[in-house]
Amino acid sequence: MDVITNNTLRCTIALAALESVVDPELGLNVVDLGLICQVDFDDAAGKIFVQMMLTARFCPMGESLINAIARVMEATFPFAGITVLQTFDPPWDHSRISPEGKRFLNR
């Protein structure tokens, strides 16, 4: 799973925090599921942009996951403005699932 970022250290902190956001149907967190594709930090504007994808285009839990990601990011970086964006280009692919995630899904 590749996450594009302009700040590796803070991205690692963000991803560690986002492991608490779990897809309710699968029981797997959004990081291991490979839903987070980009985390960018704009220090000048005091903003953080998180770009995420969904496993299916019309996922009913999409809105819930976006809200949960925003909440966790706000709690982790309380002084930054958080924007969570959804992308379907490229679409999510199972190759984005981490080895831990694959083990979990194959249980």
Partner: protein, 419 residues
């Protein structure tokens, strides 16, 4: 994108659960009527309780929840959706009561009118939601077309109701029952289940298989087959030619079966839960009515009409295919709705239960087992006209419906302890 509020959706689920229980109790009290001709008050009452109170109400509820997801926009009006529920909820018992006592006077007619107004409101809501969103999705096309067929079905049903007491059609209402039923079963239930299922099954199995052209073929075959059926039924009523519409419909079912099989094969999530197993089983069960109608068609040409097989056919549709998919899908969709209501705002900040933790899996297993045993035995009893088997198997179906109700209301009331 915004979810439809749970206050709009949950009443449909609760109502449908009670309707299933009522229908199975009526079935258990009417086993004597099940060994004769299908045109009997109790059979009509049970069929309408199942088709409208159970199948239609739960699908209306689920589609109000799913439409915003399919069109990536809001439902046009929550008020229209609630009004649709209230009117249908009042109309269905009136209609079923009218059939049960075979008084097709004001209660049945008022019920029929209320149901038609409710369905009209649903169609308006779906059309305006799709129009407002401007987003295209093949599943939304399935839902929109199915809603139109539902309106035609209930409209024809109301005309037949009036034709019973004040004949104005060229033939008596009994002659049109097959048309009325197939408009609903194929145009509403099959089209909607295929359309929505083609989205939900890959999503729940986490499968990457997708084939839009297969879905368009399915759409064309179902609608084409039904239009052919209607044309031949109306134009050549005595010829029996309308039965050739089985062919495109069988093709559509086959394509849906292949689609679901490919989805299953290419799933990333290997473990398949009980709810999905029951839903997948329903795809196989869809072929049973098709097999029976083929036997009826061939049999009527060779040895004349059988009064028994149409009953088995109807039972296989409403208590078999339709019920099995709803029993399975209820416990995939309802837990999400309840989870969103109770836990969504806590997600990520603290550990929350998963939607699958919100209902009893033991009750679900008991429901699935009693349902499958009850269905198979009752269908056998119908085919053999064996009242002992019918009397033994009907309580199994009541037990399944009771377990279903316990689990549904456990979910519906879950939020009360946590809010």
């Amino acid at each position: 994108m915004k979810h439809t509020p749970h206050t709009v959706v949950l009443p449909f689920y609760g109502y449908a659960a009670i309707a299933l229980l009522a229908a199975t109790i009526l079935l258990a009290c009417s086993t004597g009527a099940m060994t004769g001709h299908y045109f009997q008050p109790h059979v009509l009452a049970i069929t309408h309780a199942m088709a409208l109170g159970w199948g239609t109400m739960i699908i209306l509820g689920a589609s109000h929840q799913l439409i915003p997801v399919l069109i990536e926009g809001r439902l046009y009006s929550n008020t229209l959706a609630m009004l649709c529920f209230v009117l249908a909820a009042m109309g269905i018992p009136l209609l079923v009561y009218g059939f049960y006592v075979f008084d097709l006077g004001w209660p049945a007619k008022a019920g029929g009118i209320l149901i038609n107004v409710a369905v009209s409101l649903y169609v308006v809501n779906v059309v305006l939601s799709v129009q407002k969103s401007g987003k295209e999705s093949i599943q939304a096309v399935f839902v929109l077309t199915a809603a139109c067929w539902l309106l035609l079905t209930t409209g024809v049903g109301l005309l037949l109701l009036y034709n019973f007491t004040d004949p104005f059609l060229s033939r008596d209402s009994l002659a049109f029952l097959s048309l009325h039923m197939h408009l609903g079963v194929i145009g509403w239930f099959l089209l909607l289940v295929a359309g929505v299922g083609s989205r939900l099954v890959p999503m729940f199995l986490l499968s990457k298989y997708s084939n839009t052209s297969q879905l368009w073929w399915m759409y064309a075959l179902i609608n084409g087959g039904l239009l052919l059926f209607v044309f031949l039924f109306v134009r050549f009523p005595e010829s029996g030619w309308h039965k050739i519409a089985i062919l495109p419909l069988a093709m559509a079912l086959l394509i849906f079966g292949v689609y679901c099989f490919r989805v299953y094969q290419s799933r990333i999530r290997k473990r398949v839960d009980g709810q999905m197993r029951l839903s997948i089983l329903s795809i196989l069960m869809a072929f049973l009515p098709l097999f029976i109608i083929a036997v009826i068609s061939i049999g009527s040409a060779v040895v004349g009409n059988s009064p028994v097989l149409p009953l088995v056919y109807g039972f296989a549709i409403f208590f078999g295919w339709l019920t099995s998919i709803i029993l399975g899908m209820t416990f995939k969709t309802l837990p999400f709705i309840v989870w969103s209501k109770v836990y969504e705002h806590q997600a990520g900040l603290k550990k929350t239960p998963q939607p699958a933790d919100l209902f009893s899996h033991r009750l679900f297993r008991l429901m699935a087992l009693t349902y499958l045993a009850g269905f198979l035995l009752f269908a056998t009893g119908l085919a053999w006209k064996n009242i002992i088997v019918l009397n033994f198997s009907a309580p199994l179906l009541v037990t399944a419906a009771f377990c279903y109700n316990l689990n549904v209301f456990k979910l519906v009331f879950h939020g009360r302890h946590h809010q």
